[in-house]
Subunit: 342 residues, 2 copies
């Protein structure tokens, strides 16, 4: 079995973006407040956008199940206020729930949170409760920078984030650290802001002692951990300078990197440097990089090929990365699949 722990509904029906445009106008004071009930997306609309895109590619590439959350760049927590984000998160999460309900053996639900710049993270807890208890979400995406590139929130180790962590631990749900669209012209969204956020979050965790307070908290850092595995020696050295234990002991019982690294040498480095138990298969397909590499004839984001081809893994390690680690780190993935005999 192959579980892809990182997919977003980047191909949602056009009605969703049209409704969001109205909401953005309202947030900007240039239009009336749109009614969530005015958004109509049929099951057939959802089936079509999934079957023609993610499901088709999953079948072509041989992956079985995707943990599927709202489009990351569309979270855009910087738009409007908490009320705007709450309405938008609810709509996007409900849509991912419907994908899960239409394709229960292929898509499990991840959720976004209704974060907003300056809003206390505790304000996200009610939606977190709803998506888990009512919709069966198996994970949430946690944005360390809801400002969209201005980085106005305290580090993830700050106690203001603790109400979210308490719920995550209670629900046995890992959080994926994932920023959204950059509205800072210095940062390209997928070429800089995403990777920077991964690196930044990891270093925040190295600086702090969050896992002393939450020994069972699981944090997934996507995009191969940003710059971290490539600079593993730097991070080990910085941990030493900060009088922390070795990274394996300090953070790697709680932190996991996905395989969204879009070339063979990158996956070779990841699998050489990072313990197998900390690596989770993912592609973020259909995502930031959608083209076929003219040098290989394969999609850049067909990460299964790189994991298959790397000389650093034996069969048992591949099985761990492709599915066993995900079932361990996401207990609700395991239970959802087990309930279906998978």
């Amino acid at each position: 079995m192959i579980i892809d722990i990182h997919g977003h509904y980047t191909t949602a029906p056009a009605q969703l973006a049209a409704w969001r445009d109205l909401q953005v106008k309202f947030a900007n004071g240039t239009g009336p407040q749109p009614d969530p009930n005015s958004l109509h997306i049929s099951d057939d609309d959802i089936r079509q956008t999934i079957e023609e895109n993610q499901l088709r590619l999953m079948n072509e590439r041989g992956s079985d199940v995707t943990v599927f959350s709202p489009r990351a760049s569309f979270m855009a927590h910087h738009i409007g206020d908490l009320a705007i984000s709450s309405t938008w998160a609810r709509i996007c999460n409900d849509l991912c729930y419907r994908v899960n309900q239409l394709f229960p053996d292929r898509f499990l639900m991840g959720a976004m949170l209704p974060q907003s710049p300056g809003a206390d993270p505790a304000t996200s807890v009610p939606e977190l409760v709803r998506v888990v208890e009512e919709l069966g979400a198996v994970t949430v995406n946690l944005n360390p920078d809801p400002s969209g590139g201005h980085w106005t929130m305290p580090p993830l180790t700050d106690r203001t984030w603790y109400p979210i962590y308490e719920k995550l631990v209670e629900y046995e749900i890992p959080a994926m650290i994932h920023v959204s669209t950059s509205c800072n012209p210095a940062f390209h969204t997928t070429g800089a802001h995403y990777l920077n956020a991964d690196t930044t979050a990891f270093m925040q965790l190295v600086q702090g002692d969050l896992f002393k307070d939450f020994p069972d908290l699981k944090i997934v850092i996507p995009h191969g951990g940003g710059a971290v595995p490539y600079h593993w020696g730097r991070f080990r050295g910085l941990a030493m300078a900060l009088k922390k234990p070795e990274l394996e002991e300090h953070v790697m019982n709680n932190v996991f990197f996905d395989t969204c690294v879009y070339h063979q040498p990158g996956i070779d480095l990841l699998t050489r440097v990072i313990p197998t138990k900390n690596i989770l298969f993912a592609s973020e397909m259909v995502g930031a990089v959608r083209d076929i590499d003219p040098r290989t004839g394969h999609y850049f984001d067909d990460t299964k090929r790189y994991v298959d081809a790397t000389p650093n893994l034996d069969d048992a390690q591949r099985t761990a990365i492709f599915s066993e680690n995900a079932r361990r780190v996401y207990p609700r993935v395991d239970r959802a699949l087990a309930a279906q005999g998978l």
Copy 2:
């Protein structure tokens, strides 16, 4: 010959920091303006701090020449205004000039610029002219974020930066992209902000067409290029999506990465992915990571060991990375060494 293109005067005599403290107090309105002439550092002070630190380690590790610029984290362009930064840059640059004059066959001078948040980059040109024409600087460090982690400047491809580039091209001087201390609590200075800046700068260059306007401009991205080589497939794919040519054609005639990557797998990745002609030997010693790796018994930042040990390079490629590339990318390094028969 081994040329380390990335060293900072991190070990400057304590009088320097004491003077800066006075200047920071003045900038904060809590003290009188200190007189630059009140700062006294003797040649013996300089000799001692160099001989006991950088020069000792250079001799132990077998590197011959270091391009040596003011301490990066001390540039702190976010403090005060343009006048504060101008005075401070002048002091720090003069000190690096004295290191060069005391050890002309071992240290060549790099310079900082008197950048300041919101100040037009053109205001840095007079100091740029001074350090090259009067002090013989072979490169300058260019800070893409003088705000110290708030990223308030436009991308490096913006025309506001062009007056600096015009001078760099005229002088045949490469710029190293290097941020300074982060005053944003989200970003650890050396564990996040430095690496993020490297990644951010590269993506800005990918998005733009700066080298159409400046075909002879040379940009050095330190710390192994941040996250870029590890995510080379992502950047190739993003360039495709942006309708840009392959990276080798689009930016790699002008962009160079150093070897400040502090473990063997990182250097192996760098040398596997990035063309040899684009890699410049460096250690940033004495810098962010000063400890000995307990697993190898060697300094994390003894990057020569990794370059020596990587199976990806033959002798000719090692020679290119250790010295030939630096002499080509930094024509003033070549001339300064040639004038000494080196």
